[in-house]
Amino acid sequence: MTPAIITNNLTKRFGDFTAVNGINFEAKRGEIFGFLGPNGSGKTTTIRMMLGLLAPSAGDVQALGISVKGNQAELQQRVGYMSQRFSLYNDLTVQQNLQFYGAAYGLNNTDLKSRIQDALVMAGLEGRENAKTKDLSGGWRQRLALSAAILHRPELIFLDEPTAGVDPISRRAFWDLLYQLVADGVSVFVTTHYMDEAEHCHRLAFIQRGNIIARGTPAEIKKNMMQGQVLEIASSDAVNTIKILRAAESLDLQEVELYGSLVHVVAQNVEKKKKDIQKLLKKEKIQIEDMAVIEASLEDVFIASMK
């Protein structure tokens, strides 16, 4: 089967500002492809080009094996989209929104009825059909938006920061739905800037100022991008630990970052530097409760690679 998405040197310029700079990647079918990047890095611009809402300045993009350019009418039926800004009509009720989506995609009445029922179950909104969408809390709203976006059973869906501003439990619930979709064979393209969500993707691309700076599975990215290992330190005074270690140039540490109440140190041959660190902290009267070399998280990788 052809890949879900292929971009080829996809570029968008606004005046002399390049928002997306010749990016290339491939998203496989039946996978969650994560598109990671900080604010303003070009995620939404890329999605808009993939949907045909915005014409690329150069390069091209294929979705479901067909070129987006010139085939929008066909793709519209086979692709779903949940925009970054709210994709439902706030003043409509849950039922009215779903009905509008269904009718827009030309579903007949019997299909529409059963699919609306499915959507309500999926979003956990049974019995709240007549609630105004604006009265739903963030998590429910996003689940409803997702149910609406797949009402026409697309093969590929684009989700632009679907969980921004949603609490962790609702985010978890949202991702459970995504896994269900993938299990049903749907391909998912999702942008996010949550690192924990990135870990849940099958494949990732990391975009920064319009350039893809890393791509692959989460494990590959960690392996390829991380120079050095991560040492996790639990100490009696994390804040001073950071101060001291950052000042210690002789140790040649790449990164010293606060990680919750712990400190993460990134360095080459970190195992060998454990003793020196211990010594240094002892001299400053900081007690080390625990210290171990751990596997790097994506967050470690990205903080390291952004420098």
């Binding site: 045909g52 692709v79 439902l88 827009a104 995609y105």
Partner: protein, 374 residues
């Protein structure tokens, strides 16, 4: 196709029902405005405050003042003793007119070769009352003159016959302002309602962020345009019918021409403004921007409708511009049908102009909006 259009139209009507205050505001705002304008201009101008400086203080001068009062155009504000008072009152806007009767007024009236004079000062800053005051004063003086001539020719009034013009005002016998202003007001309200709702059609969704979602749905641009146009047409037309009833039944503005013709032409005009509004809508990033553009366009059109100032008295260049403003032709048609009972035989130049302009504007709008949506 039909199903998708209906789905969109239904959604638009739900928005309108939820935001009911906006259509309500346009409907009742229009009607209220009409009432205000209608009542303010319904009656002829009367009771303009008048000051008199009577240097003569004779029976003749008193009779002159009484004649002026009897016209009901004036009420006597005060008899004063010096010119300064009049000057002050005029400057303060306290009075609309003043007359100054010279000391020899009665004497000159009585003498067989006398040459009576009289000064009148009008507050030209308010041109409408000033014109009415002048007209009334001229009437009084003309009849005084007639009496003077009869006396000097030593005739009895029955024997005298002179020039007796019979003046008649057609279409608006009472010269009532309401007959002139309310149709114009109503015509403009139709323009504003259509423009405003059309302008909100896309700018609203763009502002809320839902436009993108709409564009990735399998709607063709034509389906979107039609789906969004239907509610605007329904609202604007309802508004027009309500205002027409109001103008007809409350202000007694006649409908002398054909009502079906009026409705057909109103509908045609509405489509032209709809096209304009949609163009404004797709170029606006927010509802506020769309609203301001509507205001700008509405005001410009207003200038050329002949409502504020007659188009005939504008400079040549502006008169030419008026011809390419659809609202100008629409108001001519509206007044023509309502007040003059005009039919196509008379109105055809305006209808033709509207048709040409309309075809041009709508073709352009359709192209422009479709391009913007694709």
């Amino acid at each position: 196709m039909l199903k998708r259009i209906l789905a969109l139209t239904k959604k638009e009507f739900i928005h309108l029902r939820n935001d009911w205050w906006l259509p309500a505001f346009m409907l009742f705002g229009g009607v209220l405005e009409l009432m205000a304008v209608g009542w303010a201009t319904a009656r002829p101008i009367s009771n303009l405050p008048l000051m008199v400086l009577d240097h003569d203080r004779s029976a003749a001068s008193r009779s002159l003042v009484i004649s002026l009062e009897n016209t009901e155009t004036f009420t006597l504000e005060a008899m004063v003793d010096d010119f300064q008072t009049i000057e002050d009152a005029l400057e303060r806007g306290q009075i609309s007119a003043a007359i100054i009767i010279p000391p020899d007024y009665a004497e000159e009236m009585a003498a067989s070769d006398g040459n009576p004079t009289l000064s009148m000062i009008l507050n030209g800053a308010e041109s409408v009352p000033a014109t009415a005051a002048l007209r009334a004063a001229e009437g009084v003086i003309a009849s005084l003159n007639e009496k003077l001539i009869i006396k000097r020719l030593k005739l009895s009034p029955d024997e005298f016959s002179g020039f007796a013009p019979r003046l008649r005002v057609w279409f608006n016998e009472a010269l009532s302002e309401a007959l002139y202003t309310t149709p114009a007001e109503m015509g403009l309200m139709l323009e504003f309602t259509t423009l405003l709702f059309a302008a909100l059609a896309f700018s609203r969704e763009r502002e809320l962020g839902t436009l993108e979602q709409l564009l990735v749905m399998p709607f063709s641009s034509l389906e979107i345009i039609i789906g969004k146009a239907i509610p605007v047409i329904v609202i604007a037309f309802t508004d027009f019918v309500l205002m027409l009833s109001m103008v007809h039944f409350v202000f007694k503005v006649p409908i002398r021409g054909s009502l079906p013709l009026l409705f057909i032409l109103a509908f045609g005009y509405l489509l032209v403004e709809l096209g304009k509004g949609m163009v404004l809508s797709v170029i606006s990033k927010s509802q506020m921007q769309a609203f301001l553009l509507v205001l700008l366009f509405g005001m410009t059109d207003f200038m050329f409708t002949g409502y504020a100032a007659p188009v005939e008295s504008m400079p040549q260049a502006l008169q030419f511009v008026a011809n390419i403003v659809p609202a100008h032709h629409w108001l001519e048609i509206l007044r023509g049908i309502l007040l003059k009972g005009a039919g196509m035989d008379v109105l055809w130049p305006h209808v033709a102009a509207l048709a040409v302009l309309g075809t041009f504007i709508m073709t352009f709008s359709l192209r422009f909006v479709r391009k913007a949506l694709d």
